[in-house]
């Protein structure tokens, strides 16, 4: 496949390491942290034209462009990042990094524990959104960024919010897409089912499976299947699959329906690119996130920030609902912050933030005019 004209083109994932110990929210510590990251565009001399893109649960630092001429797929937000796009690399310096706890080049449970010389496994400390952001801060400082725009969808939105609260001196603008200031009980429940599938897999071995022949693939695949149910909505499932059979009813418990086939496929391809422990740690970080409980109210949390905000949600997203976005808007108004809010119509459920790029582009481009260097 040829590289599209308005792409950032061939890019490379780089690695930033720092020795300094990080004290986590749990009071545990981590040393020798590595961060995988990519950048697109050029940082200006004032260091104030940066956009930090925060990824969702299972993505990576490769947000835009291609890794080689023969690369079949571009980065995960190619539709939004590039010359002339929503996050315009002709004007801005875009940074994307893999999160702490991940398995795409940044330190996580599958990384080597410098104290033992073996993968961390279950010895990796439980991390939070705040911890993830603290590690990103090291990278951003290293790159020489002074002021920036932070954006993220889903769990990435939580990171963006945390940035605005924790490092107000760095964040002038925050864009939170298809996200929430705290997960609903329903969403935590789905994450709990996913974690249980992993933990009860016979090859899980208490998280220490890296040197074993078998890994908890089955549990991870089920976790992903559950995830995919929550990323779609009833309408999307109906229009994609309906009650169609793959072939005809087999009168057994194999994969009969198209929707079963889809979930099975999603589960199967996921285990090749993701680590079960990372799934546990990251979903836990999402579940724990609740700045309102830390600051008393969400309003008080947002009072820490010096940013202006754009909140975008999708009407068919029941995992991160419009009501939850409106809660953030309300708290931001109470806190006296500048806030804009748009609810986009989409039949795609939570997945919409990765799919509906045309309307998002219009809104974000207009909103970011104020930040153009």
């Amino acid at each position: 496949m040829g590289i599209m004209e308005n792409s950032v083109g061939i890019v490379e994932t780089k690695y930033f390491k720092f020795d300094e110990e990080i004290v986590l929210e749990s009071k545990k510590t981590l040393q020798n942290i590595q961060v995988a990251y990519e950048t697109y565009g050029t940082l200006n001399s004032a260091g104030d034209n940066a956009i930090l893109v925060c990824h969702a649960l299972t993505a990576d630092a490769h947000a835009a462009g291609y890794h080689s001429e023969n690369d079949r797929k571009p980065g995960w937000w190619e539709t939004m990042i590039g010359p002339g796009k929503a996050f315009d690399t002709d004007k801005f310096f875009v940074i994307s990094s893999n999160i702490l706890g991940g398995c795409k080049g940044t330190t996580g449970p599958s990384s080597i524990n410098p104290k033992t010389g073996k993968p961390y496994g279950h010895q990796f400390p439980v991390i939070t959104i705040e911890d993830i952001v603290k590690v990103q801060k090291k990278l951003v400082d290293f790159l020489g960024v002074k002021k920036m725009i932070v954006v993220g969808g889903s769990m990435g939105g939580m990171q963006a919010m945390e940035w605005s609260i924790k490092f107000p001196e760095n964040v002038k603008t925050t864009i939170i897409i298809a996200s929430t200031a705290r997960l609903s009980a329903q969403a935590i429940a789905f994450n709990a089912v996913g974690r249980n599938a992993i933990i009860t897999d016979k090859f899980f071995n208490n998280g220490d499976y890296y040197d074993k022949e078998n890994t908890p693939d089955y549990g991870l695949a089920i976790a992903r299947m559950v995830g995919h149910i929550t990323y779609l909505c009833e309408e999307a499932m109906h229009s994609k699959f309906g009650r169609d059979f793959k072939d005809k009813p087999n009168f057994d418990f194999g994969v009969d329906f198209q929707v079963e086939s889809y979930l099975e496929y999603q589960g199967r391809i996921f285990v090749d690119r993701f680590d079960a422990n990372s799934y546990l740690y990251i979903t836990k970080a999402i579940d724990y996130y609740d700045p309102a409980s830390k600051f008393g109210t969400l309003e008080n949390a947002f009072k820490q920030s010096n940013s202006r905000f754009l909140i975008i949600c999708f009407n068919s997203d029941w995992l991160f609902s419009t009501e939850q976005s409106k809660e953030m808007v309300s708290a931001l108004i109470s806190a006296g912050k500048e806030v804009s809010f748009v609810e986009l119509k989409s039949p795609c459920g939570h997945d919409a933030f990765l799919i509906e790029h045309e309307n998002q582009t219009k809104i974000i481009k207009s909103f970011l005019k104020k930040d153009e260097p």
């Binding site: 202006r308 409106k326 809660e327 808007v329 309300s330 108004i333 109470s334 006296g336 500048e338 806030v339 804009s340 809010f341 748009v342 609810e343 986009l344 309307n359 219009k362 809104i363 207009s366 909103f367 005019k369 104020k370």
Partner: protein
């Protein structure tokens, strides 16, 4: 100066500097950006139409997409100095509820609407026997968004019954604006459009 520009001029004059403003039905943000430029206001607009929202964002106006008729739930009590409802009250589903909500979220409200007792409107109905049309009321009866047309007198009565104070009134005719000094009956007859500042 056309009537829209005059209206914007009148509303801008009513808003004090540095006020925190909620502009309901802000459209493409023209009035709001004028208020930012001339009165250094802060705050946010509300607009239901997404294309208008994008135009407002383009002007650097903070805007919340939403339906005024669904209430102003996401706005906490007293979060603004002024709530503006410009040329929109007559097209809301529940004008009484909207005014109540405005005075919950803001200390003062600016409300403007076309006066249905304007003499030209009366004459139109009287002589033609048809629903009046004019520059201020350009629609047919079957497609008009103006589902709750009212008169200056109606609004005075509405405020009296609900213990709402009318702090200021400006009457607009023929590209001229007059402050509320005239006899009300005459005002009701000669004003094409009215702008009120009210509070609880």
């Amino acid at each position: 100066m056309n009537s829209t520009q005059l209206n914007y001029e009148v509303v801008t004059n009513l808003i004090p500097e540095n006020a925190r403003v909620l502009d309901l039905g802000c459209g493409d943000g023209t009035l709001f950006s004028k208020l930012i430029a001339e009165k250094k206001i802060t705050g946010v607009g509300v607009e239901i139409n997404q294309d208008e929202v994008i135009k407002a964002l383009d002007k650097g106006v903070s805007v919340i997409q939403g339906d005024i008729d669904e209430g102003l739930k996401q706005f906490p009590d007293g979060s603004f100095d002024y709530a503006i409802l410009n040329q929109t009250l007559q097209s809301t589903e529940k004008p009484d509820l909207v005014v109540d909500e405005m005075l919950r979220v803001a200390k003062k409200a600016v409300v403007s609407f076309p006066n249905f007792a304007y003499w030209k409107v009366r004459f139109y109905l009287f002589f033609k026997g048809k629903m009046p049309k004019s520059k201020a009321l350009p629609y047919e009866w079957y497609n008009t968004p103006n589902i709750h047309l009212m008169t200056v007198n109606d609004f005075f009565e509405f405020c009296k019954n609900r213990n709402i104070k009318i702090l200021k009134s400006v009457y607009l005719t023929k590209n001229k604006a007059r402050s509320g000094i005239l006899v009300r009956a005459i005002t009701n007859f000669f004003s094409e459009e009215v702008v009120f500042v009210v509070s609880k």
